[in-house]
């Protein structure tokens, strides 16, 4: 919100420099976005009249104007579309100095001589509005020949303040002056409301359909007004906070809004059908062309002001164009109302319009401040536009009564942990609201009607802290009663998984939880079925349309982009959530996934090239990762489209399939721009991982005697699986057998067609003695027999 310092100073004495004011406001909870100096930082600018506007000989967009300041007449080139004959304008003559060290010289613009410049408000540094809407057109009362700097007055400072949503009462110059008055112990000067005699026409009746939606509607008629330009002081006020002056009546309503915070609207009463208004919900199918010249289709969500024919304004949001005040208006209907915040918010949101009015009503305007604001606006209209007014109509049935808040200095200090004395707290609270004392001496505070944010002792404690200073609160902690720490297995598991993966060479990636439809289709290999995947209602862009069903979508993308940036080997993992849609809502699962592409070590190295990952790198990584958990590999019942049909296994943790690991299917790798290389990937649901931790480790001893091993080279069918060999030997439960490992697999030359050679190494030991050769031989013989019987394996050589 923009605040003019000159305007503020008209309401309260403030001698401090703007920077100090800004610091003071910060300590009260109002942050300053910017401080801007405006006003007459120019010289050599005079008021002149545009005598003639003619075309520029060489440029369609420029015009050649004849201007006169009374003393001399000259030609200037002007580029603004709003220049017109008869206007009073600010002319920067040859030699004039404008803000930004800009000097006006006699110059040729596209071949035409220009003896000066017709200025815009921005060029003169008079407007804080970023947009320049053309030249500054002065009121008809501007006297030609006057030095313009004598009119723009002293320079002003404009502060752009952040006002938090709980303080709508501070969305005006008066509100801020009130706030400063409390802190500085000063008085606010109420703006003048002289000159209203209510001997004019009676107000129109206003029927309010639902008093909850419109707690107060104050109206009045002013007749015989003369609509015209506003005087310079008023235009300057509005321009200083970035508003465009329109005409004296509309300008007054805007001025009083920004002075008092009370939104108001002026209708051209002669354009209203009938002589009564109603405040009601819009009917389906009703439309309105609003002041922004846009037609809006209304719905019962919109509260409207309606005449006999239909809506003439969207209540609290925007007025209608047809009934707006124009140059020809002579009779006004003035509205000073209050609407329910949530209704205005919904209504404005539905139309996608936000106005200074709706912004204030949404946050809550002051019911009690309406008569004063109405008087201020009426007085100014009568002063500037003339006319006669009558009494106010007022629907205010029951003024909203503020409930008294229990208050005591002790309670304030209890909340804050401070020790402010009574004689600092109570005088402060008295400046904020009315203090009452009951028979037993208990104090309570009734806040003024504009302080909608004050309802509890905590609210008052904040007031005390704000005005006496947050710095004045100490740092003494009360004795704490700490809860007993609980074990945190999920957190511990995640930390351990991350550490293991880093040790295995994986770096941690973070991807956003949203993915594009394109990525989802590519991942699924088909269009998503409606309802399968949580979809965003209002994504920021197409890129973020769905919640991810898999971390691999992000990982495949990042692996590809790293490879494209010149990385040779990429190992990335992510610990995060994946999402699926269920009937009960969105299901989130904590998941760990990884991707391996390209050689490790990744960079070319003098010791030789790194190794490309193969299926067994992925399998090994997953086994290392989950070494502490009860897991088992499983051949997928049906191939997973993402993976190579052979190089893929599912992982059981506990009793359920919770993971998959493998090499990406070559066509998937290609689709994700990962090239022809083998790419390993895994994804494991770890939501319930901690409960599948292997039983606590216990030492079981080992034999101090030497172990002996035997290698068995076996000829088996090419399609035979290693796990069946291991199972056949394992089923024997040989007493002295320590381990079975696979030390060689060979297919091809020298072997019969359709066969392969697998070499197992069996290791034996005995806990109490060295095994005899015959014992080992006997065990091996049993193993060979079982392998032949169960797997058709023949021992070679």
């Amino acid at each position: 919100m923009k605040i003019s310092l000159n305007w503020l100073r008209s309401l309260i004495d403030l001698e401090m420099p703007p920077e100090d004011l800004s610091a003071k406001l910060l300590n009260l909870g109002f942050e300053t976005e910017s401080i801007e100096t405006i006003g007459a930082q120019f010289s050599g600018v005079v008021i002149a009249e545009v005598k003639k506007v003619g075309p520029h000989p060489n440029a369609d967009r420029l015009s050649l104007c004849v201007v006169s300041d009374g003393a001399e007449t000259c030609e200037v080139v002007c580029g603004a579309p709003n220049v017109a004959e008869g206007q009073r304008i600010a002319l920067a003559k040859i030699g004039a100095k404008l803000p930004g060290d800009f000097r006006i010289k006699k110059s040729k613009i596209r071949g035409a001589v220009s003896n000066g410049m017709i200025c815009s408000a921005k060029e003169l540094g008079l407007s804080s509005n970023g947009e320049d809407k053309g030249i500054l057109v002065l009121g008809e009362d501007a006297v030609v020949g006057t030095d313009f700097s004598s009119i723009t007055g002293e320079p002003d400072v404009v502060l752009d303040l952040d006002v938090t949503p709980n303080r709508p009462d501070c969305l005006s110059h008066l509100g801020l002056a009130r706030e400063l008055a409390i802190t500085l112990g000063r008085e606010v000067r109420r703006p003048g409301t002289d000159g209203i005699s209510e001997d004019g026409p009676n107000p129109w009746p206003v029927a309010v359909e639902d008093a909850e939606e419109c707690p107060r509607y104050v109206g009045r008629i002013v007749e015989g007004v003369r609509v015209g330009p506003s005087p310079d002081w008023l235009r300057r006020r509005l321009e200083s906070i970035g508003l465009r002056p329109i005409n004296n009546v509309v300008d007054v309503t805007n001025f009083v809004l920004h002075e008092t915070g009370q939104p108001m609207h002026a209708f051209d009463a002669d354009k209203l059908a009938g002589d009564a208004l109603s405040v009601r919900a819009a009917r389906e199918g009703e439309k309105i062309v609003a002041l922004d010249e846009t037609e809006y289709a209304l719905s019962p969500e919109n509260l409207v002001i309606a005449d006999a024919e239909g809506p003439v304004a969207v209540a609290g949001v925007i007025g209608g164009l047809e009934t707006a005040v124009t140059a020809g208006t002579s009779r006004l209907f003035l509205e000073f109302a209050n609407f329910r915040p949530t209704r205005v918010r919904r209504s404005a949101k539905r139309l996608a319009v936000r106005t200074d009015s709706s912004y204030r009503f949404e946050r809550g305007a002051d019911l009690g401040g309406i008569p004063a604001a109405a008087a201020r606006a009426t007085a100014l209209i009568l002063e500037l536009a003339g006319g006669k007014t009558g009494p106010l109509s007022d629907t205010n049935a029951s003024p909203a009564a503020h409930r008294p808040i229990d208050v005591s200095a002790r309670r304030m200090n209890e909340i804050l942990g401070s020790d402010f004395p009574d004689d600092r707290i109570l005088p402060l609270l008295k400046r904020i609201g009315e203090i009452f004392q009951d028979a037993s001496g208990r104090l309570s505070l009734v806040p003024p009607s504009y302080r909608l944010d004050l309802a509890t002792p905590n609210d008052l404690a904040e007031e005390v802290a704000r005005h006496l200073g947050y710095d004045a609160i100490g740092e003494d902690p009360a004795p704490a009663h700490l809860p007993v720490p609980e074990p945190d297995p999920v957190r511990d598991a995640c930390a351990a998984l991350g550490a293991t993966l880093c040790g295995l060479g994986f770096s941690e990636a973070y991807h956003r939880d949203m993915v594009s439809e394109t990525a989802l289709v590519r991942f699924l290999g088909r269009a998503p079925k409606p309802g399968d995947h949580p979809k965003l209602l209002n994504p920021l862009s197409e890129e973020w349309a769905y919640l991810r069903p898999s971390l691999l979508i992000g990982l495949m993308g990042s692996a590809a982009s790293n490879l494209n940036h010149g990385a040779h080997g990429v190992r990335l993992f992510e610990l995060g959530r994946v999402y699926t849609q269920t009937l009960d809502g969105v299901r989130e699962r904590l998941t760990v996934s990884g991707i391996l592409a390209g050689p490790v070590p990744s960079r070319a190295h003098w010791t030789g090239p790194g190794r490309e990952p193969d299926f067994f790198s992925v399998k090994g990584a997953v086994e290392a990762l989950l070494r502490d958990y009860r897991t088992a590999w499983k051949t997928p019942a049906a191939p997973d489209a993402l993976f190579h049909p052979k190089a893929c296994l599912e992982l059981n943790i506990g009793n359920k399939t919770r993971g998959v690991a493998g090499l990406l299917h070559p066509s998937v790798a290609k689709a994700w721009d990962l090239g022809d290389r083998p790419v390993g990937a895994f994804e494991i649901d770890i939501e319930e991982l901690p409960q599948w931790k292997a039983r606590r480790a216990r030492f079981a001893g080992f034999s101090p005697f030497p172990s002996s091993s035997r290698d068995l080279s076996l000829l088996v069918d090419a399609g035979a699986r290693y796990e069946s060999l291991e199972r056949a030997v394992g089923a024997l439960k040989l007493e002295s057998l320590d381990s079975v490992s696979c030390i060689d697999v060979f297919e091809g030359d020298g072997l019969p067609v359709g066969k392969k050679s697998v070499t197992l190494r069996l290791s034996f030991s005995h806990p109490e003695r060295t095994l005899k050769d015959e014992e080992v031989q006997a065990a091996v013989a049993k193993a060979v027999e079982a392998l032949a019987k169960e797997c058709g394996a023949q021992r070679r050589g």
Binding site: D476, L501, P534
Partner: protein
């Protein structure tokens, strides 16, 4: 052999043996010395054999002397052999060419993400201050994200947190504060928790703003918790994070779920309060939002506000990671460029 001549020969061997062992300059000559002294026909062996010609009394006194000499010589020869062998290996190694300054094998360690590291650092401090880790879902209901936190529907406070909605009516949580409600619904006070996690805002991204980012929520509910407690905890937290000299200041702000509310600034970490471009010349950096838990929130979860009060705070993680690591653009955290992770990962 007489006792005298035997003793003379012993003395002679005592004198010469040491010199002949240390005089051997290679393994071959050392072996010759060993054979000469300790071999089957060696001189010391011969002397020991000669003992049998002496009287029993002489044998008793001289025998141990001779045995000592034999052990001593054997040890000297063994030591000499070890050092000659080592010298021979050293001579061989001297000819090996190896440039130890070459780079080592890359064992390929990975890096934790800088956000993980920053969260761990911050959570580590809070953990030492007695805050337990708590968590909640990313996909939330309107109740937990807003209404239970005293942010009613159609209230303008909702403008402070632009929200991503799902088609099913749920939303992506805009802050970690819903964890306050979820935790208080299940745990009786005293409650002292932190809830680090991901949050979402419907905001266009630029170098300083992300639509997906991380916060750490803190909540303490106990008997007689005050604003001063909050100030103390945050002061200690910030000192733990940025160093013992760190200064904080509190200033009024507005959050619907705290009252009084405070924005907390840390004295600029770069200029130490003198004013620089990083702190927009103010000398302070905005760090977190906090306040006394609004009694309306505690009442909503069924707590008696005559007994219980609390404080809460929420701090953004990315900003702190950016400050500490000198990262210029918040979006880099989600690009997963290995060059970035190698520089700022942990």
């Amino acid at each position: 052999m007489t006792r005298e001549s035997w003793e003379q020969r012993l003395r002679g061997l005592e004198d010469s043996a040491v010199a002949s062992v240390s005089g051997a300059t290679d393994l071959e000559s050392l072996e010759a010395v060993r054979v000469d002294l300790l071999g089957r026909k060696g001189r010391l062996t011969g002397l020991l054999k000669g003992l049998k010609d002496l009287t029993i009394d002489d044998r008793k006194t001289l025998g141990p002397q001779a045995n000592r000499l034999r052990d001593e010589v054997a040890r000297l020869i063994e030591d000499r052999r070890t050092s000659l062998e080592r010298a021979a290996i050293d001579a061989e190694l001297a000819s090996v060419s190896l440039d130890a300054s070459l780079p080592p094998r890359d064992l390929g360690l990975g890096r934790r993400h800088p956000i993980t590291k920053t969260i761990e650092d911050m959570a580590g401090i809070l953990s030492r201050l007695g805050f337990a880790w708590a968590d909640g879902p990313r996909v939330e209901s309107d109740r937990y994200n807003f209404t239970a936190l005293n942010i009613p529907e159609d209230h303008s406070a909702r403008d402070m947190q632009d929200t991503f909605y799902l088609e099913n009516g749920q939303l992506l949580r805009t802050h970690t504060s819903p964890v306050q409600i979820r935790y208080l619904e299940k745990h009786a006070p005293p409650v002292r928790i932190m809830a680090p996690g991901r949050v979402f805002r419907h905001e266009a991204e630029d170098a300083g703003h992300a639509a997906v980012f991380h916060q750490i929520e803190g909540l303490y509910v106990d008997r007689g918790v005050t604003m001063a407690d909050l100030k103390n905890t945050l002061s200690v937290f910030m000192k733990g994070l940025f160093g013992a000299q760190t200064k904080i200041r509190m200033r009024p702000s507005y959050f619907p779920f705290t009252e009084p509310s405070a924005e907390v600034d840390v004295q600029c970490l770069l200029c130490k309060g003198d004013g620089c471009s990083a702190c927009k010349q103010s000398g302070w950096m905005e760090m977190l939002g906090s306040g006394v838990v609004n009694p309306a929130v505690l009442k909503g979860v069924g707590l008696d506000t005559e007994i219980w009060s609390g404080f809460a705070f929420g701090v953004g993680v990315e900003r702190i990671a950016m400050l500490r690591l000198g990262i210029p653009d918040i979006r880099m955290f989600y690009e997963n460029d290995l060059r970035f992770l190698r520089q700022v990962g942990a």
